[in-house]
Amino acid sequence: QGTLRVGMTAADIPLTTGQTDQGGEGMRFMGYTVYDSLIEWDLTSADKPSALIPGLATAWSVDDADKTKWTFTLREGVTYHDGSPFTAADVVWNFDKLLDETSEQYDSRQAAQGKSRIPAVASYTAIDDYTLEIITKTPDATLPYQLAWILISSPAQFEAVGKDWEAFAASPSGTGPWKLETFVPRERAELVPNTAYWDETRIPKLDKMVLIPLPEPNARAAALLSGQVDWIEAPAPDTIPAMTGNGFVISSNAYPHNWTWHLSRTEGSPWNDIRVRQAANLAVDREGMSALLGGLMIPAKGFLPPSSQWFGTPTFDVRYDPEAAKALLAEAGYSLENPLKVKALISPSGSGQMLPLPMNEYLQQNLAQVGIDVEFVVVEWNQMINLWRAGAEDPSVEGAMSINFTYFIQDPFTGLIRHLSCDLIAPNGTNWGHYCDPEMQGLFDQIKNTFDAEEQDAVMRATHEKYVNDALFLMVTHDVAPRALAPNVKGFVQAQNWYQNFSSITME
């Protein structure tokens, strides 16, 4: 019971039509609340990394003979908020919404958000009401992870509001545990429980959940402290003492996020020398940085958080050891007197970037102490995204040899493959540093072709071990998704995931 008022970091209510915008937060509050996907994340546990579980699909399998052909069995008896039943045809309709520009339900805004999430999908057919077939372009074992992105909106509702996404946005309909009751752009959205939700354990206990965009961290803090909201996302570290002092609860947990310097591996980059890469990783005093973040971080031990199921057992120990770093640099021919000079791209802000400026300046000091002189190229966040898309060889990066980026690393593709795959070298893909290594590429292929989940996990671990051992990134820290809760918010379990389950929450 009760009303939970949430202060989001987004500046606006995320897109309500299905495929949301506003990044991870959009999916968290407006995606998995109002909608379901075929395959979902298990958000019930705080103790272990979340795994995929059945959503609107109850089972899926890949054809033994044709590894591009997948069959999905869909859940029966699921109805949308508008009362219409969910069938396989709806899934096809939703894929067309994103992929088929000629379909009447094609929505460029949702497509912009969703299309790139399912690069493997070639075609899809409804075999019967509850069986769906998907053909992938090439064999790709990561398809389930991709499908976890895609949210299913109600075709019947689309029809009912006059085939207009604008109108649909105002009264959306999905199959999710929450229904959107009202919404005022940029101000608030009110969600109420979907009492007919197919998973009874996830029928919300609250009467209402109100989402309020509060992009400014201090406004968020003030709103929480003055009792106008009960929950805020990402409290500013310095406001936390005031909150805990007043009985507010800080919830945090590891989740698949990292804060790194993506290194350039183009011709002539000093980062091509593994000794330099390792030295840099050894030079960073991650514990010291923790003070800056009010302890709300997990020092990096690798590219993935230490608690990840894919962490493995790398041999290179990412730790703070300036002496070792100096030794390595000396081998590579650099010293305090003759420091290595590098340029680094950073941005003063950006979603998920934590506190980019102080953190980078801190890094700069750390690196200077072992003989790496960093000069920053500071650009706006939007410009940074452009530079990230352009890649390390693009002239517009002005010779920068690294880019400070934070990554969503929740699944095999976003977690590992996209950063270093030879076929994704920028500007055609997301491999900013132009890294291309046959051995790594082999591992990536293996991931895509390993259809057994556990075997696939093993390959993932091997891949991550190579990430760490070769020190392919400057691995700095992981965010812990802090959120501050009023004392009377009970029953929240923070999963190790970008998304969260709000159904268990009650207000006292």
């Binding site: 310095d238 102080p358 500071v378």
Partner: protein
Amino acid sequence: MALIETHGLEDPISEAGKGYWSGVGSRLIRDPVTMICLGVILLLILSAVFAPYLGLADPYTGSMIKRLAPIGTEGHILGTDEQGRDMLARLIYGGRLTLFIGLMPVVLAFFIGGALGIVAGYLGGWVNTVIMRTVDVFFAFPSVLLAIAISGALGAGILNSLVSLTIVFIPPITRVAEAVTSGVRSLDYIDAARASGANALTVIRVHVIGNVLSPIFVYATSLTSVCMILAAGLSFLGIGVRPPEPEWGLMLNTLRSAIYINPWLSALPGLMIFITSLCLNLLSDGVRSAMNVKD
């Protein structure tokens, strides 16, 4: 017939031969408030200029361990900021940038707008029409809005702030310069000068500039405090000076969350902005009354 105040023929004014500016000066000196404000501003400017020689801590590097040290901490009289950098040093170095982007646009606008206004006011006719109608368009934007719009479009950066603020302050100065100039233009001594055969340039140089400059100047000084607050506001909003530069508006922004930990510390940049703009305002008022220029 009270047009003329009459003095004795013998020696009406004891300080005969004394220039206009020395009169202004002596009136200023007798005004304690203005002098104090002048002192504060001079102090700020001097300390900003000579910051590197004051033996201050490095305003760019700090230590995370000492972050947010309270005012009065040993070695950091005014405490440290969120990155453990010395506040005193940052405030003083911050004065550099803040005063620079707070005063420079007005200075630039004073020259540009002043020149435009004098030309428009003296020449009149279509030159006046073109200049003043263009100025009118800019007047359609409230100044804050215009500054934010241009800065918002151009993006953050010192140069961009300078450009946008200068654009904001050119129109009002042009308008005042035009009004003052056309007022002076209609006075008999301008006619007398023209009647002696002097060309427009000479008349402007000898007779116009000297008489319009001080009202324009006084008006411009009254804009400095607005400009400073606006410049700091841009930084505060994140579209002015970029971190890690010390700038009061920006410091105010980055120290905002520290208000829960160390409220006095986070109030310091705001206080500096307030004091400086207060002094600028009082100074401008003082100069105005000393020059006895009517509004």
